[in-house]
Point group: none
Chain length 407, copies 2
């Protein structure tokens, strides 16, 4: 238990954490970053009277995936709580994962049978169209509902990708997911047998083998996707909830399944709502404000445009957020934090290791250290450059939810 | 042993650490903090040629009590060395605590006897006047000098509060203080029996029981304060001295008992002197300068006024310190550090989690990063925002008391 957890006290305060995914950037035009190019009068006004800083999501120089990026923001050390690939894939495709589950990434593949044995000809089944994936996945789901009392759930992803959840009748022991990938990583080879490293994983591996064989049977007449290779076996990590650790009744107001899934891993309630834009998120926030203490609002497109290398697109998402900011402020959070889960500089077309701008507004900040909410201004702020996992300490402190340490 | 301890070398240098208790603040007038409002020409001149930064006393977001706040400044991790409540209360009331001692917080209470058993009617004995407390405490001390060979020392605090030290003939084993509070926390209930969690604590608990009964006998005819509830049993933490760790012969020039007590916990010599102001502290510093390496000078009133929400008072203490600063400089310390043990913003009327301004002057600093010694200027300084426990490294380094690490 960390020091901060022992000091938690409850009160009626409301904490908003707004995550602009992949917020941080690098110079894109005339030496200015996406945040610097964007016209953000509301963010600028708020920045002048807020605490500013930068956060390091995982460690210096480390580029985080979405999982570690968000865990840090929620107050969890991403190096301590690792989320398996299968879990992330399942969450990203909207599957729920429970303590009874093994989650797996699946790739449709093309095999040829030689002496009755499958030999991989194409590890991605020629990257079949997503539409074809949906048809095939539906066919599998309709044919295979359960194996030996284990429920089977399969969801289609993009192109050749799927996620599978094997739901056992009882919660699984730790180590039940220690099973090797079946993808041989090379064409011309047989898929590998799934083998469990531990007795509890061996039980799971038996079900997996039967699942692979039954899928092969269902797909046997498909011209391309006639086999399923499995990777990233993972069970739900054993993570104490935000309410347990910080006394925060927490909820997630996000559009994309991945982020809802990550929030659910730390015990947040996932609020369902109509619409997929900031307006609908603000309305939802207003609707549920009395029922929670901590509100995680996720904005995806800053990251999406960054990944595409489309800096104008990223700028426009930032500007759109700026227009909605007054509506968030009207809801009068006691503490408002605005940041990203990592940087996604358009020039890198991907996530990066760069520290991420962080703004915290409450009645108890110095403020007055900056003119705008940008990378270069945040570097000069009163928060300094801190590990992401410490942000929660500041949010709790600024909402007066921490008792004094020692006398 | 930490890396820095292995590198220590001695020389004749003098290090002054001046602690303005609760120094850091928040905006109080026209967006300016107490330090920004204060007229401090001498501090400003020094700040221009000093290393500036901020320190985090315990951890981000954590509001320290005086104990953890000072331990950090002395180079001790406050999360590693915890000081029990009883110890702090005893130190605060001027009692010495030794390795043979159990220190306890006492509250005078009113009980009613039902079938011969005490039942709590008022946990604070109607908050009796401090004068009455003094009379009663004296009566107890005169009646009870020892129990089973254990010396009993009791000191009056404010209103209903006292501190008790039970001094055993031999140093106590670790875990001897693991005894529950006897305060039932509710009226209408019997006081709890003191029970030891460990065999060594059980021995202590036997003495405690007899002490409680004898106090009840002494107080039986008091109209209000006719019982004593005990809390915060604590023994002296096992802390290596500053001389052992850093090779520094250290002394404390403080007015208030609490800070002398904290200094004594890390092995500082407590210098007694006439007077209670900066002038007398400077004279004392001059007098003992040749006998020590490290001088801890404590100024209390910045914190006291902050706690009262009296920002004008806090400003006046800062300005008074500024007037005396040239006298400190005349003593030509090799390294001079000025900081606080924590922030006490007048607007919060209490200690807070905010990082604390830090100034270090020596011939080996960059300087030139700031115009003044304020929170906002210190944020931009060459030291950055560092954990308090690392300040000692900088003081040792700037006094050339650390050898090179590695070849």
């Amino acid at each position: 238990m960390e020091a901060v957890e022992k000091l938690v006290q409850k009160n009626g305060s409301k904490i908003f954490l707004i995550v602009l995914d992949g917020l941080g950037g690098l110079p894109v035009r005339e030496g200015k970053t996406e945040l610097e190019v964007a016209k953000t009068p509301n963010l600028d006004a708020l920045a002048k009277k807020s605490a500013l800083g930068m956060h390091v999501p995982v460690d210096y120089g480390i580029t985080p995936g979405s999982g570690p990026g968000h865990l840090g923001l929620f107050g969890y050390d991403p190096l301590k709580y690792e989320i398996g690939r299968g879990i992330l894939e399942a969450l990203g495709l909207g599957l729920e994962v429970r303590s009874t589950d093994i989650a797996i990434r699946g790739n449709y593949a093309t095999v040829e049978y030689v002496n009755g044995k499958p030999v991989v000809k194409d590890r991605r089944a020629g990257r079949i169209p997503t539409e074809e994936n949906r048809r095939i996945t539906k066919k599998i789901q309709e044919s295979i509902r359960e194996i030996d009392g284990v429920e089977v759930i399969i969801a289609p992803g993009m192109e050749h990708r799927t996620a599978i959840v094997l739901r056992f009748p009882e919660p699984l022991e730790e180590g039940s997911d220690r099973i090797n990938d079946t993808d041989p990583q090379e064409v011309g080879k047989e898929p590998l047998e799934p083998v469990g490293e531990t007795p509890q994983a061996q039980k799971v591996a038996q079900v997996v083998k039967k699942f692979i064989d039954r899928v092969a049977e269902v797909l046997k007449d498909e011209p391309k996707a006639n086999y399923l290779l499995l990777r990233g076996f993972a069970q739900k990590p054993n993570i104490p909830t935000m309410e347990e650790r910080f006394g925060l009744r927490s909820c997630c107001i996000a559009v994309y399944p991945m982020y809802k899934g990550l929030a659910s891993l730390v015990g947040m309630d996932i609020i369902e709502f109509e619409g997929n834009d900031l307006k609908s998120q603000i309305e939802t926030l207003k609707r549920v404000k009395e029922s929670y203490d901590f509100f995680f609002v996720h904005v995806k497109k800053t990251d999406s445009y960054g990944e595409d290398g489309n800096w104008e697109g990223k700028v426009s998402v930032i500007e759109d957020f700026d227009k909605h900011l007054p509506k968030f402020l009207e809801l009068k959070p006691d503490v408002l934090a605005i940041t990203g889960d990592h940087s996604t500089p358009s020039v890198l077309k991907g996530h990066s290791w760069h520290p991420v701008p962080l703004l915290i507004h409450s009645p108890y900040v110095l403020g007055g250290t900056a003119e705008r909410f940008t990378e270069r201004e945040c570097v000069k702020g009163e928060i300094g450059i801190i590990p992401a996992k410490k942000i929660i300490n500041l949010l709790l402190a600024n909402s007066l939810r921490l008792k004094k340490f020692g006398a």
